[in-house]
Structures are given as C-alpha cells and as structure tokens.
C-alpha cells in the first residue's frame, strides 16, 4: 500500500515542548519586525498556544508541534526555560528506552509500508528487561477505578506499551468480563489531547515548582489550622487515597473534604439511612434470584458490580434444552435501558411514578399503606407481587440509582419481607465512603460563596461543567484565592483554576481500589507516564507531611499497615496481589442491618400530573457524565438502544412525538444506515434553557423526556468539544434526576443525527428468531419453523472437507443484552479506526461487529413503504419487545463474497475461516455488495490515523493496520487463533477447547458469544450448535455461516401475557 508511511521510529513530545515550540513559532513571526520581542521568547504563554491550536485538528496539532520540535532554537530555549525539565528529558532513560523499543516492535511487527525504503532500522534494547521476550505480549493485572465502581482488569502489554484491556477472572466485579467503558479507557491513555504538564495560570510549570508553591500554600493553611482548605474529589474507593486524605484532615483539622459525582445518585445512601438508620452497601447475588424486579435500575449495564451482575444474570438464562428453567426479570422504568430491553416484562412508567409503583408493590406485600395505580400498572403490581411471593428468599427487588430514598427504602423493606436478605443480597459497610453527594457540593458552594475557601484541591472531576446549574459554581470558584485542579484534560474547570496538574491515567500510576463487594486490588502502572502527569496521591502528598512522596510508597505504606489483619503480610503477599489483581481477605464482610423503617411513615408521593412532561437526567451510556467525551471509540459507538453516535438527543416517546408532530427525516445520504434529520427544540427548565435535538424512542414512557448528560463540552479536546447539547445547563439541585414544569418548544430548525441502524422491523425474515419459554417448551424447534435452509446434500458440488479444526461461533441471543462491550473490544483488538460523525452519517463506520436492535410485534408504520420509522406513530411502538443481535462476519462456508472477488483477496482457509487478505485487495467493493449480512467494512478514505504518534503506540502489532482503499472485516481474531495454534504445535498437541478466546467473547459480560472448534463434539461451541435453538441468519441463502445463533428465549409470566 503506497500510501502507508513506514513508521519504525517514534518520538513523543511532552507539551512543555509544545508550549515552547509554539512559542518559538510566535517568536519567528515576531523577530521579523522587532528584536525587542526577544524577552518574550522566554515566556511560555500556553493560552496563546492553545488559542493558536484550538481550531486545529488533533493531527495538525501534532504536526505543528513536531515540525517545531525540530526547530534548533527550541532545544536551548527549553534549557533556558526549564533547566530541570531539559535535563529530565535527557536522562529520562525509561522513556527513551521504551520509545526505541516502539521502533523495534513496530518495525518487527511488519507494520512498515510498501514503498520499501532502502534503509530501515532495528533499535534493540541496551539492557533488555527481565521476563520480556520480544514479540510475546505480557499480561499484567490491575484495576480500573471508576467512581464508586472498580473493574479488575488484565492488560496486554507489547514491549512495554499497553495495547488491550481484558477482564480479570479473579476480580469479583469483572469475573473475566469488561464493559464498553473499560475497553475504551485505554484510548484515553493515548489521547493526544490529554493535558501533559503542570500549569500555573496557563503557563507551564515544573512539578518541583508546584511542590514549592504547595509548600508555601500548606504553611499558610497550617497557620489557620486548615480553615479555608477544601478538597473536592469524586467518589473514590481507594483505601490509600482515603487514608491520605484522612491523614491530611488530621494535619489540618479545619479542612473539609467534599465529594461530588454528577452521575451518582444519593437515593441509595439516603434510602439506607431511611431503612436502617445508617449507610450500607448493598451487594446482590443475582444468580440466586428466580424473580427479579428492577425499579428503574439498570443493574446489568451500570453501577458498581454491573459486569458481575450481568454474568450472574445470564448464567441463570443458560438453556441447554427445553427442560431448563430461567430466572424472570420485571423492569419498571421511564426510558428503555439495557436492562429493561432484555427484561421478560417491561413497564414504561414515568420516573416519579416508579415510587408510586414501589409503594403499591410494597402494599401488596403487606408493607405500608400501599398506593393505587391505574391502567396496566395496576394489573402488573398484583401479578408481580404474586410472583415475588411464590419466590420468597429467591427473589430480588433492585432500586434504581436515580430513584429517591423512598424507593430504595421500600426495596430494602420488600427484600426483607420476602426474606431475600442474606440470600439474594447482603449488606456491607459502605465501600466508597458516605459523603453526601449533593449536600457536599452545596456546602462547598456556600463556603466558597462566603469566601471561606482560600485553597481548594479539586481531585479529578469537572465541577464547573457538571455542578448543579443553580449553584453557579464558576463564579463561586472565582472567589477561591487558590484552586488547584488535577485532571487528565485541561477542561472547563482547569480554565478557572490557578493551578492545573495533569493527571496520570490509571495505567500510568500506582494506586488501589475496591470492588463492589469490597475486595481491594492494587492498581499498578503498565507504563511510565507518557507526559509530566501526576496522580491524586502525589497531589495529596504534596500538602501532607510527606511532600513528594511517590504514589508507590503511599500505597505500600497503607498496605503495610492494612496487611496486619490480612491472611498474608505485604512482604509475603505483595507480588501475589499484583499477580492476581486482588488482595485476598479484603472482601467486605456481610453485616446485618436491621430494618428500622415504617413504610406508612413515608410522606405522600408527589408525582406530577400525568399530562405534564417529566424531564429526567441520565448519564450518557457512552461518555457517561462527560469524562469520556474525548474518547473517539465511545463517541462513535452506537448507543445500545438508540443506535445514535456522536451526539446526545432529548429522547421522547412516539406518542409525544405524534402529539407535537416531531417527525424524523431519513436523509438520502447515508439514509437508514447513517443520517436522520430531527427537529431541534428549546427546552426551558429551571429558569434555564438549552437547545436539543429530539429523538423518538419506542418504549419510552409517555410524557417523559430524557436529557442525557455528558455532552455539550466546551473544553473536552478535539473529539469531544461542541458535540451534542449540555443537559447540565438545565439541571438544578432541586431536581437532579427528574424535573417537571419545563417547556419544550420546537425551534423550527432541524439537526442531522448519525444513527447506525434506523430500521427496526425484520420484515418477516429469518433474522432474529425468538420465543417465550413456554413456546420453546411446547416447540423446541421453533427457530426452524420458517427456516428454508436447503439440506447440504442438495448441492451439485462436493462439499469441501474440513478435517482439522473447523472454527465456529455460537451467539446466544437469550443472553445478549446489547451492552456494546464486544464492539469496543473488537475495535481495540483489531486496530479499527474512528471515522467521525460525517462519515458515520454517510454509512461508513468501521465496526467489525455491530449490534442490531430489533423491535418485534411492531407493525411497520405505513404498509408498502415499511420504513420502520419510530416517528410514524402506531400503538405497537409504545412498549415493543426489544431484542439485540451481535453481527460479526458470519464466516460462511459458501461465502458469497469470495466468489465475486476478482483477485482472490478473500478466500477460504483450510480451517473454514473466510480469510481477508488486505494487501491483495484492490477495493472493488463487490464482496460487500454480495454479502447478505453487510458485515464488510471499506476504507473509503484514509480513515486510519498514520500521523499521531500516540495512536501508533496503542496499535496491536499482531494485526495489520489497514489503509485507504481496502475492504476489511471480522476474522474471528485470526491473530489469536494463529498464536495459540503455534504454541500448541510447538508442544505437538491439539488446541484445547476455550484456549482461543476472541476479543468479543472475552469482553462479553453475559457469556453470549462462544468460539471454538465445531469439529470437536465436546467443545462448548459444538454443543451449543447441536441445540435445536441453533440457526443461521437467512439460512435459505445456503451460505452456511460458521457463526450461528441460538434463538432468543424470554420467560414472561403467563398471567401477565394473558392480560
């Protein structure tokens, strides 16, 4: 491929140079006319640099920096400005080593381009680290701290650069699986827009300079005994950090610690207080529950432990035959969530009506005075209550994170009444501290307002952007004499802080974190910081009695003490802890919290009048509260249910859309698979206004409008800035999660949204076969009712034999909940590029595996046209059954794509893989046209980023990096197959079942994807394929896919079915 540069040497510029460099740029322009400017050279006005670079794209940004880096002036400029930095740069041995090796690994990995340059270097180590074998990845256990949640992970490292995140089977919150966010977090590490140095008022400062400043500040607050010293952090589960802060609070008795998580609710904590008079942490044993009722809880896809819960949940839905049983899930929620979409019964209710429902349910179970419901809900409550009764001790009621205290309290009461406590759930001491979320930020704002805060440490978080609007955080922050902001990006908040400290990525620093059940893990760095970044530990230490204490020492110190009451002391255990990724004996012990709660004492519910629109705020499924806004993978990842990318939109119900006649317009460019124009509306709420695009979402509760948080960022970086609308603008403290009394008026303008799947109707084709458990038991063969697959022997040709391995995949649609983990895992494993909103709108996104979302039992809106357009209202859209179907390459044995390729760039391997040979492909796109499943992806333009050095570090050297003009697609992770096969052959043995795990399979929290050798009757995949539920999409085409599906089976309550 001529247009692939041959990158075998790399260097990374810390922004200190960037600043310099760009300044150097400045001074070139300047000394043209006046030498007097020479003095200015020394000043590094980063603001100006940013100004200069703002409108530039990431690529340009880096290019400018690089050409400037070669500027002779700049090196000595650097020395003059930062003698210390400069020298540091010179003997930053580890960094340079690792860069060299980058060269080595890239060159060796054969990523070199095709315009064979004659000279090409190999840059070996000077001293090779022990245990490193060139070309063999190492895996290290660590943990990803994420607010109150923590996911233990194993990180794949190629010659010192982390390239891929896998779940850690030993970690209780992972059980070997991951989520989309965890998978994507590695991209943040290599994000070129990351903040890279310490800055004071926009000027680059050295860490030591900061330490000095910190020392002075510390002595000042010491004088006042800490009065006016505030620490604002997000929720943290890090024992070390907590200890450090506690220690700090001892040093400064007057100092205060505030915690603010914009996307975490207070309901759980307050509910616990209400129910038990104390805060507790609730751990669910989902696997033990036969009947689960979720009161607006998305416990399968968000919140602490959700990955583990999804795994446990799916294990209860494993069907080996019609005789097997399943658990049953009822979900009551205002807007379709991943959990709701995969429920057996789903009841759309406005957020404020959920409490009503909870009370009614409690009432039915003899708790409190109950409540009266109307319509479907009334009928529901009876049946659900009965179902719960029947499963005493084996049922579970889960309250949603964004529901008020009452709902949580009621949930506790119901679980207690049903005797579920200690069976399907248990309580522990709180894991993430129990600072009141909203109160904390409120108090802080009050203090700041009264000028009582002189020194504020902001550890991560972005309050200027996401604090409740009515608190007017910005102006109050301005009253703080010294605010220090630690964050990975120079974001909205950084701009208003005197000091900005670039924060290290969790793969760059030492720390520790606790799982949802309390189990602690050591967070160990995979790579020395790419830039001059620090962790919260360093920052706290700077103000403690041990300034400059490295995070490592802090962690060691904490666990040296802590290990005294652990099975093994730190000296014995440390290496094992690091190796396993968990610290044995740290699991939180169950406590028995006895119920001091009288449901009747609850104040009357104030649910808004039914005709009033209720606006609810939810973190975006992908960018969460906004912290992932600059993550291209997540931006381009279609939202699980809406399938929207690159934007958030106000989600409304089809009925509401009809009333307001908000119609969607499918654009001819891209069309159903790409671009949809939707109306823009002004949303006036809480004396504030925001303009948003509206999206009609089937299954949404009528008169509910969802405003997803995390968008409309002003300073997120190249990828995340100015995308979507900022819902925080209309979010106030009195209505953090649900607000009424707002107005929604169409502006008359429209806005294009990038939607990867618009058509939700299967048009009666053999695509996603599904049934209820009872139907399945009656007719185990239901998946083949309309299956017209011709028998193999009907072929004129003699079928090819696959005597050796026959790779195949089985995807259980009963288990898949559409969480997207597989999509990002695949993107990360296979170097799949991000193409941007415009290209997605043209229908050119590159995901090798996509998750199709279908609504069944929907009549297509207007006959004949069958646009499957949710904005064309019909009653079936009010609450349609939703199903998800992951679609990777089907690896057909009679692959239609192969037959039409003129150059044989896609052919069959002896093991039945549909090989794709990128360097043979000339890009006729005929294969894609002829692919009935449309799983092939084409590099219409030069989508792959060949210039940004960081992104090169991230790439998987085992996989070809495709460039412009070639077709690509899922290969069953052939690189993994080959590596495992080679190892097996070296030992002269056959590959064991489960030895090869594809990226999607390993990421999947619900074990829906199984890969293996279909020829081996004992392999898991063969067994699944032997099931009657097993079928191929569009079997009548006789393409004989190796990827087959197990029909979806749901377990609805017959009684509710009748109704």
């Amino acid at each position: 491929m001529n247009d692939q540069p041959n990158e075998n040497k790399l260097r990374i510029l810390p922004v200190s140079q960037a600043g310099d460099a760009a300044q150097g740029h400045d001074h070139h322009e300047h000394d043209d006319h006046e030498e007097a400017q020479v003095e200015r050279e020394h000043r590094l006005d980063l603001a100006a640099v940013r100004e200069k670079l703002r409108e530039k794209s990431g690529k340009q940004y880096w290019r400018t920096l690089e050409e400037l880096a070669d500027d002779p002036h700049f090196e000595d400029l650097l020395h003059r400005e930062f003698p210390r930095h400069a020298s540091e740069w010179d003997d930053a041995v580890d960094r340079r080593d690792f860069l060299k090796l980058m060269g080595a690994s890239l060159a060796l990995a054969g990523m070199a381009g095709c315009g064979r340059p004659d000279i090409d270097h190999i840059v070996p180590y000077v001293k090779q680290p022990d245990g490193l074998i060139l070309g063999r990845p190492n895996f290290y256990a660590t943990a990803m701290p994420f607010g109150a949640a923590t996911v233990g992970v194993l990180v794949e490292s190629h010659e010192g650069r982390p390239t891929k995140i896998e779940g850690n089977p030993d970690h209780p919150s992972s059980l070997g699986a991951t989520s989309a966010l965890v998978q994507a977090s590695i991209l943040n590490l290599y994000d070129p827009d990351r903040s890279q140095t310490v800055q004071q008022a926009g000027e680059i400062r050295s860490w030591s300079a900061f330490l000095d400043a910190a020392h002075d500040l510390a002595t000042n607050v010491k004088a006042t005994n800490g009065a006016g010293f505030g620490i604002l952090s997000g929720a943290t589960t890090s024992p070390t950090l907590t200890a450090q802060i506690q220690n700090l609070l001892k040093l400064y008795p007057e100092a205060k610690w505030y915690q603010w998580e914009p996307a975490a609710g207070d309901g759980a904590r307050e509910g616990a207080m209400l129910a038990f008079g104390r805060n507790v942490n609730t751990v669910y044993e989902v696997s033990k529950a036969n009947v689960i009722v979720s009161l607006d809880s998305d416990f399968l896809a968000s919140g602490p432990g959700h990955i583990a819960y999804a795994k446990q949940f799916s294990r209860r839905r494993r069907l080996n035959g019609p005789s097997d049983t399943m658990n049953r899930l009822y979900v009551v929620e205002p807007t379709p969530s991943v959990t709701g979409s995969s429920a057996d019964h789903r009841l759309p209710l406005r957020s404020s009506d959920v409490e009503l429902f909870a009370r009614a349910l409690a009432g039915k179970l003899g708790i409190g005075s109950g409540a009266t419901l109307s319509g479907e809900a009334a009928n529901w409550v009876d049946i659900v209550a009965k179902d719960l009764q029947n499963e005493r001790g084996a049922s579970l009621v889960v309250a949603g994170e964004y529901q008020p205290a009452a709902v949580h309290a009621l949930a506790h009461a119901i679980n207690a009444a049903l005797g579920n406590v200690g069976k399907t759930l248990y309580y522990t001491e709180p894991i993430a501290g129990d600072a009141g979320n909203l109160d904390a930020i409120r108090n802080l704002c009050v203090e700041m307002d009264h000028g009582k805060v002189d020194l504020l440490l902001i550890l991560g978080g972005n309050p200027v952007y996401n604090a409740p609007h009515d608190f007017d955080f910005v102006n109050k922050l301005k009253r703080v004499s010294t605010a220090i902001h630690l964050s990975p990006y120079f974001d909205e908040t950084s701009a208003y802080c005197q000091w900005h400290v670039a924060e290290s990525h969790f793969l760059e620093t030492w720390s520790d974190a606790r799982a949802h059940d309390g189990t602690a893990s050591i967070v160990q760095p995979l790579i020395s910081p790419l830039y001059y970044t620090r962790s919260a530990h360093d920052l706290i230490a700077a103000f403690s009695d041990k300034p400059g204490m490295p995070a490592y020492d802090a962690v060691r110190a904490y666990w040296t003490d802590a290990s005294s009451h652990l099975p093994s002391s730190i000296d014995v255990g440390w290496r094992k802890w690091l190796n396993d990724g968990v610290i044995p004996g740290t699991k939180a012990a169950p406590i028995n919290a006895e119920l001091k709660f009288n449901a009747s004492s609850l104040p009357a519910v104030q649910s808004a009048p039914a005709d009033q629109i209720e606006f609810i705020f939810r973190p975006d499924p992908n960018v969460y509260d906004g912290r992932f806004a600059n993550n291209g993978w997540l931006q381009e990842l279609p939202r699980p249910v809406t399938k929207l990318t690159w934007d958030n939109a106000a989600l409304i119900s089809p009925k509401l859309a009809q009333q307001r006649d908000f119609a969607h317009k499918v654009q001819s460019r891209g069309g159903e698979h790409g671009q949809v124009r939707v109306p823009l509306v002004d949303i006036e709420l809480n004396q504030s206004k925001v303009t948003a695009a509206v999206w009609t979402l089937p299954g949404q509760a009528e008169n509910t409008v969802v405003l997803p948080l995390g968008y409309g960022r002003m300073r997120a970086g190249y990828t995340g800035t100015d995308k979507g609308f900022n819902a925080y603008v209309v979010r106030t403290s009195n209505a953090l999660w649900a607000a009424t009394g707002g107005k929604m008026t169409a502006t008359g303008d429209s806005y294009p949204l990038a939607c990867t799947q618009y058509h939700f109707n299967m048009e009666g084709r053999q695509i996603l076969s599904n049934a209820t458990l009872s139907e399945y038991q009656k007719n185990p063969n239901f998946a083949h009712e309309h299956d017209e697959t011709p028998p193999k022997e009907d072929s004129l040709y003699k079928a090819f034999a696959y005597p050796g391995y026959a790779w195949g995949m089985a995807i259980d649609l009963t288990k898949c909940n559409g969480c997207n983990a597989c999509v990002v895992a695949c993107q990360s494993e296979n170097n799949i590029p991000v193409v941007g909103k415009d290209q997605v709108m043209r229908g050119r996104e590159m995901h090798w595996i996509r998750i199709d979302r279908y609504y069944t039992h929907t009549e297509s809106a207007t006959s004949g046209k069958t646009t499957g357009d949710p904005s064309e209202y019909n009653p079936t859209l009010d609450n349609p059954p939703t199903f998800f179907q992951p679609v990777p390459c089907q690896q057909c044995e009679n692959a239609p794509c192969e037959q039409v390729c003129p150059v044989g760039a896609t052919v069959h391997s002896a093991e039945g893989l549909n090989d794709m040979v990128y360097n043979r492909c000339i890009g006729t796109r005929y294969c894609s046209n002829n692919c009935p499943y449309k799983v092939r992806r084409f590099n219409f333009l030069r989508f792959q980023d060949w210039d940004t050095p960081q992104l090169k570090l991230m790439r998987n050297p085992e996989v070809t990096v495709r460039s412009r003009g070639v077709m690509e697609k899922c290969t069953y992770c052939v690189q993994r197959i080959n590596n495992v096969r080679i190892d097996a052959e070296k030992q002269n043995r056959t590959i064991r079942d489960g030895e090869i795990v594809t990226a999607c399979e390993s990421a999947c929290p619900s074990e829906a994807i199984v890969f293996g050798n279909a020829n081996d009757p004992n392999s898991q995949v063969a067994k699944l394929k032997a099931q009657q539920r097993n079928y191929s999409i569009l079997g009548e085409l006789n393409s004989r896919p190796r990827t087959t599906y197990l029909a979806a089976v749901r377990n609805p309550n017959p009684e509710l079915e009748k109704a």
Partner: protein, 181 residues
Amino acid sequence: MEHHSHLHGVMGEFETPEQLLAAARKAREAGYKHVDAYTPFPIEGLAHAIGFRWTAVPLITLIGGIGGGLTGFGLQYWCSAITYPLNIAGRPLNSWPAFIPVTFELTVLGASIFAVVGMLALNKLPQPYHPIFNVERFASASTDRFFLVIEARDPKFDLAESSRFLQEASARHVSEVKDEE
C-alpha cells in the same frame, strides 16, 4: 522516367467493372498467368477471373480461434486447480461453468487477431512502395477507374503484344508500369 529502369508490366485502364471483368476473362483465355486487376471496390468474380481461387484466411482464423480457446480454458484451469488450489466460496476447484465466458472471449480474440494479421500477411502488407504507384493515372484506382495489369514476369508477356491485347479488350488507355532500380 529518364534513368534506366525495368518494366513491371503494362496496365490497361477501363471505365466500367464490366469491361474490366470481360478483359480479365479474355486475358486468362489468352493464356496470361500473371495478371492482376485493381478496382475501387471489390467486384464479384474478378478474382476468379484472374485465376485466384483459394485463400488461407479462414483456416488461419480457425487456428487462431482454437488456440485462443484452449489458452483461455487452460489458463483458468491451471490457475484455479493446479498452481494454487484455493477453496473459494465452497465451489469446486475446476468450476468449469464459470470458466466459459473467458474461454469464449479468448477464442474470439484469437480468431479475430489471426484473421486480420493473416489477411495482411497474405497480402504482403504493409507494402507502402509498389511499382504500380509510378503510373500517374493509377490514382483513380481508388475512385472510379478499373485497371488490368499484365505483369512482365508472365512468360507470355510482350510489351507491344500485351499492350495491343489490352487495347483490343477496350481499354480506354494503356500505359507501361516501370519499376525503378
């Protein structure tokens, strides 16, 4: 033409194809062997009249066609089944039905090229120089005049004799065709 040169033949010019045809037949009867006729467009029976019967063009074409066809199928079979047999879409290595189009095309290609090249070769073309062009009046051979040439190499050739013969055959004009050394 002053400088010495030898004779190529005598040329009779006729007004109509019919006269030429008649003259040509006479010439044959008179026993002339090396006779050629030149006409602005092909005239039925003329070739026969000057004693030219069989042409190899069709045979050459046939050979070309067969050659092309065999190459075509051979190539495809060799590529798909012998040199690098690959499982493509589960189709047999020798998917002969799929090989028909290319085989056919190459058959036609071979035949056509052989036909044209053969025709030119047999006509000894290209041959930009030819003594007959020396005759001024010959230009009208490509417009509206019809010529009969009795060549000097004909054993029965005799300048005076042959010229008279042509005149008797109602040639409008008779001229010598000289060939420069």
